[in-house]
């Protein structure tokens, strides 16, 4: 077999493998999106119906309580809770991540490595393992079923990651840029905002997206710590579609689409930064 043919076969093999992997990853998502636009009957049909035969927006109308729909789930409250909790926890985690990442990248202080290692170890602990102690603490502090309760949990989940990611970005920026800015007349604070921050923007955006998605999608802890429309988030709200004997798959899928869309929009908006952010280390060196 000639070398060219071998290379071609290998390329084809790679493409096929990639395609199969992509199908495995995408089909469940696609199924959810398609199911959001068809009635339960079609979803449960055997053999399965892939392409909706009677596309409909009824599922969305139903969960928003529009028209003659009977089931009204407080989607708008859930959406609002999710948005407030995810945005607030992301902003706080980013601020702490920027301050911490900058400190780890730029300053020398006692126990620096131990603290950093501690943060990373904290990241390794699965959130659900903390759910019981957090639940007990929160219940004593009156934080159960509050937005604040979840915000604090998500900030602490996200901070180690944002610090780690942002630290890496600040390390990539030569310290001489900040020094040049200080010689040029900046205070350290100005040098940070005018020079280092814009250069680390990609990394900060990437950290922000990850933090937002973690908070937006989190289910396990939210399901323990929320009770009512005061704090329930969209992923927890999905459980409203399960009754003792039935599951409203169509409604659940419609709501899943509502959950997916903002995440997709956000990722799309910052994708330029995200890609630059994720490949920064590779192309710089």
């Amino acid at each position: 077999m000639s070398r060219a043919l071998k290379r071609q076969l290998r390329a084809i093999g790679l493409w096929v493998a990639t395609f199969v992997l992509m199908v495995i990853m995408c089909v469940p998502g696609l199924w959810v999106v398609l199911s959001a636009f068809r009635p339960n009957r079609e979803i449960l049909a055997k053999p399965p119906i892939w392409i909706p035969e009677n596309p409909t927006l009824n599922n969305f109308a139903k969960i928003f309580g529009i028209g003659d729909a009977q089931v009204a789930i407080p989607v708008l409250s859930y959406f609002w809770n999710s948005m407030v909790i995810a945005m607030t926890s992301t902003i706080i985690a980013l601020f702490i991540g920027m301050a911490g990442g900058y400190a780890f990248a730029r300053f020398r202080f006692r126990f620096k490595n131990s603290i950093f290692l501690g943060l990373m170890l904290f990241r390794a602990v699965p959130g659900i393992a903390l759910s019981l102690p957090v639940f007990i603490l929160w219940s004593r502090m009156g934080l159960i079923d509050t937005q604040m309760g979840l915000i604090i949990v998500y900030v602490s989940l996200n901070v180690p990651f944002t610090i780690w990611l942002i630290d890496g970005f600040f390390r990539q920026i030569p310290i001489s840029l900040s020094e040049a800015a200080q010689v040029d007349g900046c205070t350290r604070w100005q040098a940070f905002w005018k020079i280092e921050f814009p250069l680390a923007r990609s990394g900060i955006a990437a950290a922000g997206v990850f933090a937002f998605l973690t908070s937006w999608n989190e289910f396990a802890l939210a399901s323990q710590l929320t009770r009512s429309t005061d704090s329930k988030t969209l992923p927890v709200g999905l459980m409203d579609f399960t009754a003792q004997f039935t599951i409203d798959w169509a409604g659940m899928c419609a709501m899943a689409v509502i959950i997916i869309v903002p995440a997709l929009i956000l990722t799309f908006l910052v994708q330029k930064h995200l890609i630059a952010g994720l490949t920064f280390g590779g192309v710089k060196g």
Binding site: P174, S176, L177, E179, A180, A181, Q182, V183, D184, G185, C186, T187, Q190, K194, I195, P198, L199
Partner: protein
């Protein structure tokens, strides 16, 4: 009053002292080069002048102000960094004008100064480019431009040419010299390259292990090195240093090699004194291939071990009194390895150092 004055300046990191109480006065518009091997404290000294490193002890004055505790922005200095440190997200125009903008200068003044600097450095056509689109030499010019737009009291250069290739380095060296003539500002320039130091400096400060070894004009440090370190560091190729002993009126290099003590050094040596003889390769030349017009010459025979033709001269490696030495053959002819040549040593250029202290016998 000096433009920059360092008085007993000490820098320590914890218990490790890296600069040991140095004193240095730099005059207005003077071009001073700090030179020395890696780790000698030259960059630390520059960074202390800039305010990028705190000083542990002593005083630094810029003009008539004590600047010990002033942050860099209040010292009215500019600095050119080794890696240029251009702001990658700004174009050349914004890089040049950044300092003025921070200082709150009106846009008209910023534009004027930027154009002026761009013109001096020949980068007017690059103003809209970002640093990534510039070559090494262009980045270097922009970095210098950024330094001159602010009309500071002093320019600090931290090994600005070490990232450039050899040819560009020579070209930029000339440009820095020209720039100094044009803008007439005090310059403190750090390099480990003694050729850069010799060609640029009004005065050279040679540092080693956190101490200043010698301060002087290039001619002074070349012709009158105060110790063996300076003698070996300044000059390329370096001075040949050979352990010797004074016996009567002779410098005895080995049992069979001795040269007369030059008249000018006779008063500084005593019989039996252990010394180190210093001979620059330029001052040790084969008969008929020298450049010295003096009758104070000593003759030695050397066997050529290696000959490097450099164009106008050939560098000859050999052994003298058991030590590797280099001589120079000006107006060279072909030389074969193993060939024995009669060399002349220019005695008026011979240096003698005290073997104990390493200091020049003239310096006492």
């Amino acid at each position: 009053m000096s433009a920059i004055s360092l008085s007993k300046v000490v820098k320590a990191y914890g218990k490790l002292e890296v600069v040991h109480g140095i004193d240095l006065q730099i005059a207005h518009n003077e071009f001073v080069v700090l030179v020395g091997p890696s780790g000698c404290g030259k960059s630390t000294t520059l960074r202390m002048i800039a305010g990028l490193e705190d000083i542990t002890d002593g005083d630094i004055r810029i003009g008539d102000r004590l600047v010990n505790d002033l942050p860099p922005r209040k010292r009215n200095i500019s600095m050119v960094f080794q890696n240029y440190a251009l702001y990658p997200h700004m174009n050349v125009r914004d890089n040049l004008g950044f300092g003025l903008k921070i200082a709150g200068q009106p846009p008209r003044v910023i534009e004027e100064r930027v154009m002026e600097a761009a013109e001096i450095l020949g980068i007017s056509e690059l103003l809209e480019r970002i640093p990534a689109e510039l070559s090494g030499g262009q980045r270097q010019r922009v970095a210098m431009g950024r330094a001159i737009v602010r009309h500071p009291e002093a320019f600090l250069f931290d090994e600005p040419l070490s990232n450039l290739d050899a040819k560009l380095r020579v070209q930029m060296r000339t440009e820095i010299k020209k720039l100094h003539h044009k803008v007439k500002t005090t310059v403190v320039y750090v390099t480990h390259d003694q050729v850069e130091a010799m060609t640029l400096a009004d005065r050279i400060v040679i540092m080693k292990d956190g101490y200043i070894e010698q301060v002087g004009t290039p001619m002074d440090v070349f012709n009158h090195p105060v110790n063996t370190f300076v003698a070996g560091f300044i000059g390329s190729p370096p001075m040949n240093l050979i352990p010797a002993r004074i016996a009567g009126d002779a410098v005895v290099l080995s049992d069979d090699v001795a040269v007369p003590v030059p008249d000018r050094l006779k008063a500084h040596v005593s019989d039996g004194m252990a010394v180190t003889a210093g001979i620059r390769p330029d001052d040790m030349t084969p008969v008929g291939h020298g450049i010295h017009d003096t009758d104070q010459m000593a003759a030695v025979e050397l066997t050529v071990e290696l000959a490097e033709l450099l164009g106008t001269e050939t560098l000859i490696y050999s052994h003298l009194a058991g030590h590797e030495v280099q001589g120079k053959m000006f107006d060279p002819r072909d030389v074969a390895e193993g060939e024995t040549l009669e060399f002349r040593i220019a005695l008026d250029k011979l240096h003698l150092f005290d073997a104990q202290t390493g200091r020049s016998v003239r310096a006492g």
